[in-house]
Homo-oligomer: 171 residues x 3
């Protein structure tokens, strides 16, 4: 295991870090798995149970929660927020703070090579298809097909990339 | 007063912290009042004059400004941004940086048990009703009635919770 | 050069800081130019090559990337995200992490006295006109004329300020 981290990070001992991971300052990681060649920007938090594939790039101010899996080569822009609780409440029916058994963690899967633009919010329980592109500032409320380009609130299909899901460019 | 804070926080001496407050890393608090049993996520800032009720949960990357009051049991998701200045400008008519007397702080009230989804932006001068739910990624531009579920930019009524504003679930 | 910084900042030696700059905690600056009288909020990152004019105010949780120029007296709210890459990908066609020569940085210009509301995302390659106002939570996809007030996703013209682009108020 080797990695390069700037100052002022909180990286818990239970984090599984791959080779050649680059981490900017003010990063908070705990209980997550980070693949080889991953680059993490400033002010990023990744929670326990999240899995980040090889060669992903995660930009500043982004939050990746429990229940999220990024396959390899995924781009996540700045200020992106994942979610995992469809009906969040601070307290249970007795008015006491909810504990870990009083909510359901829903999963989100981002397939290989997808790009999630900056400022995007993703609802939970969805799959983002291979090499799909989510436009900046979108709110994603449902599955995104492979190779699709979506944008808006809620995000809607703009077009599908014509070179196919394995192409290197999106013309 | 007792609280548990991780490393790398800036908590000013003028913060009023209740009992059993849990604070994650990289939190910036000054001049605010935090109730009992409150949980604060990573990269949260709460400004002077803000009031956080008992058993509220405030998630990572969220900003709560002067003029905001959360009643008890409020949930605030990740990356939520409150505002308090309807016409912000960097400078006054002379082109000099505005001072504290050159703008009007507008208030926002979030009533008991409301839930504000992740990635939400709230305009100022509004009230979020008891147990209302703001969908993730919404932009809230006006009052939200008690028990309402709203979403979108601008946020619009999706439906009203049928079990009433005091119910524990939202079916 | 003089400035006042709170604790827990990362300010690289290659940052050009003007006179009387005020910097809150948890700020990450590198390779950028910051004018006189600028105020920077908590959790702000400003990248190399970005230029911030005199007397600008940049609020918490905001990201300003390479390629962005703010003229004098610009207001940038909380949680604002600029962008500079129209087609971001984590990796090149060989599946290897992109290097600095494998993407095109697009520029964004914010003219004198403009105000960008909190929670705004800006696509790249655009110009925000003098004293324009971007409503909170907007997604800006194209140029904004001088004196215009725009809002929404995508941001659309709400009205034009009647006192002209040099007026101190927006009535």
């Amino acid at each position: 295991m080797s990695y390069q981290a700037n100052h002022l990070c909180l990286i818990a001992e239970n984090v599984k870090l791959g080779e050649d991971v680059r981490i900017r300052g003010f990063v908070n990681l705990y209980g997550c798995t980070i693949g080889n060649g991953v680059r993490l920007g400033t002010f990023v938090e990744i929670q326990k149970g999240a899995i980040i594939g090889n060669n992903c790039k995660i930009q500043s101010h982004t939050f990746i929660c429990e229940g999220v899996t990024l396959e390899d080569e995924v781009f996540v822009g700045h200020g992106v927020t994942f979610t995992n609780d469809r009906f969040p409440r601070a307290t249970n029916e007795e008015g006491l703070p909810k504990n870990d058994n009083e909510w359901t963690c829903e999963t989100t899967l981002v397939k290989r090579g997808a790009s999630i633009g900056s400022g995007v919010t993703l609802l939970c329980g969805i799959t983002i298809g291979e090499r799909a592109i989510i436009g900046a500032g979108s709110v994603v409320t449902k599955d995104v097909p492979p190779g699709a380009i979506v944008a808006g609130n809620p995000a809607r299909l703009i077009r599908t990339q014509t070179k196919g899901v394995n192409a290197g460019s999106i013309s």
